[in-house]
């Protein structure tokens, strides 16, 4: 039965994604960490599709569609910000702070 190990690995991967978002300053790397979190959730869906029916695998499709849309729009936003600031570091994105 692979359900318990899959849930364990998924929890660790999600945690690593959150740690990456908290740890990094490069916006693109933070986006990659968000993708890592989405993949951890996908693993949970696929693992639970085995005892609970095929619906979990169908949901992975929608997660992938949302991830693709998020990556396209997010990277376009990064490009637009880079054009103004010449940087993708979060340290330089502080317009609302001052």
């Amino acid at each position: 039965m692979l359900l318990s190990p899959a849930l364990e690995i998924s929890a660790v991967l999600f945690t690593l994604g959150v740690a990456g978002v908290l740890l990094r300053r490069n916006t693109i790397v933070i986006f990659m960490c968000v993708e890592l979190m989405l993949n951890a959730v996908n693993l949970t869906f696929v693992a639970l599709a085995q005892p609970l029916g095929i619906g979990g695998q169908v949901f992975v499709f929608f997660v992938m569609a949302v991830a693709a849309a998020e990556a396209a729009v997010g990277l376009a936003i990064i490009l637009a910000v880079y054009r103004h600031k010449q940087s993708v570091s979060l340290q330089n994105m502080n317009l609302l702070k001052d």
């Binding site: 692979l2 318990s4 190990p5 899959a6 849930l7 364990e8 690995i9 998924s10 929890a11 660790v12 999600f14 945690t15 690593l16 994604g17 740690a19 908290l22 740890l23 990094r24 300053r25 490069n26 693109i28 790397v29 990659m32 960490c33 993708e35 890592l36 993949n39 996908n42 693993l43 696929v46 599709a49 085995q50 005892p51 609970l52 029916g53 095929i54 619906g55 695998q57 169908v58 992975v60 499709f61 929608f62 992938m64 569609a65 949302v66 991830a67 693709a68 849309a69 990556a71 396209a72 729009v73 990277l75 376009a76 936003i77 990064i78 490009l79 637009a80 880079y82 993708v88 340290q91």
Partner: protein, 173 residues
Amino acid sequence: MTLTFFWIFGVIAMGSALLCITRRNPVVCALWLVVTLFALAAMYVMLDAQFIAALQVLVYAGAIMVLFLFVIMLLNLGRPGPTDIKGPVGLLLAAVLAGTLLFQLRVLGGAQALPPSAIQLPPGSLAALQARQGIVGAVAGPLFETYLVPFEIASVLLLAAIVGAVVLAKRKL
């Protein structure tokens, strides 16, 4: 045997995810993330989701990561920045918060949170369904029947994302 290989690929996925969030060079981060995605695809195969595994390699490791690498190289960010990773305070904060989250997830995903055996399908029923309808057909059936409305909404979402990406990335409309 399957369990051993599952753990091997799980350790590969977790290790490369850790390397992905700790390497300073963004290109190296992206390549370690690709390793994670491939290991996850192998785990999907062992979980009776062969079609999802193929999609994972094509869409995630192929399309989405190429998009990331394209933007990294377009913006010439291949060199590691000096301030890319936060200092000791940020590291401590990230470790504490992530540790708390991992503890909570392990409690939530513990043995008592597994689905009750009354609603579980008998073992091997998913493989039997795939043998009956085909690996793609078993996923496509519910996608175009039960989940038809979400499927159509996803197409609208993708259209909005295409238009939004073009509008945001264009210099002058």
